[in-house]
Structure formats: C-alpha cells, structure tokens
Symmetry: C2
C-alpha cells in the first residue's frame, strides 16, 4: 500500500515561495493568476495492513507536518 500525505501552509500563513511562483507564472502569460500555495507531497510505501488512518493522522500531526503553520491531508492508495 501507499500513503500520500500532502502538507500545505495554512491559508493564514504567508507563503513567499508560492507568491514568487505566482509572480513568475504571471510573467509567463498567466496574467490573471490567483493564489499559489506550495506544499510538500510525501509518498510512503508500506506493506499492506501496516498502518491505519488513526496512526497515520498521529504521524502527520506529530512528525510530518507542523500543525502551527501547516495543514495536512492524506489518501491511502491500494
């Protein structure tokens, strides 16, 4: 099985990397671009049945994200 965790900066937190990319995309011809936010995508390969959602939430909260400034989502792929 594979778990894909996506960690993004919270909406209330400044994301200078995203702002830089938005500005560069605007110069590339996407004049009316909105917000860009850049986060991390973490792909974890595990033997099937090794982890359940509760444990994955715990790892995301304690270890893979900084809950003060980041949100996370994950999906478990078969």
């Amino acid at each position: 099985m594979k778990a894909v965790v996506t960690v993004t900066p919270k909406k209330s937190v400044l994301d200078p990397q995203g702002a830089a990319v938005a500005q560069a995309l605007a110069h590339h011809g996407l004049e009316n671009i909105g917000k860009v936010r850049i986060g991390k995508s973490i792909e974890i390969e595990l033997p099937a049945g090794t982890i359940d959602e509760a444990r994955l939430h715990q790892l995301c909260r304690d270890f893979l994200s900084n809950p003060v400034i980041e949100d996370y989502t994950f999906e478990i792929v078969a």
Copy 2:
C-alpha cells in the same frame, strides 16, 4: 478553478530527504517501512477557463519541474 501540480523526484534519482524521513518513521515504530519520496505540491488558483491541459503541461515542463530529475502529475479541480 484550481490546478494541483505534484512534482516528485524520478524513481532513479536519489532522494535524501525521503530517505531521512523513512529512517525517522522507522524509529517511530514503522519498522517495515518501504521507500519514502518527498516532492512538491503546487496549488494554483485561476479563473475558470484560463488554462487548458496542453498549456499546463507546458508550464509544468518548462517551469514548475526539472524534467531531468523530476516527474510531474496534475489534476484540475473544478
């Protein structure tokens, strides 16, 4: 509309950040963990109809990823 671009290191490329996270997760009790790969997740907000898939492929290839060492996927969210 929102486009979510995920950029990951190619399988053949060493991912030291992923290796470090895998090792740390193993110490956190996931002894039989497999590979971990860490990439970027880029959320782009745009007015509807501003961009088509071909243009997004072009931006991903030319600008958002380094095709020598990275793969990308994207999905367009309504």
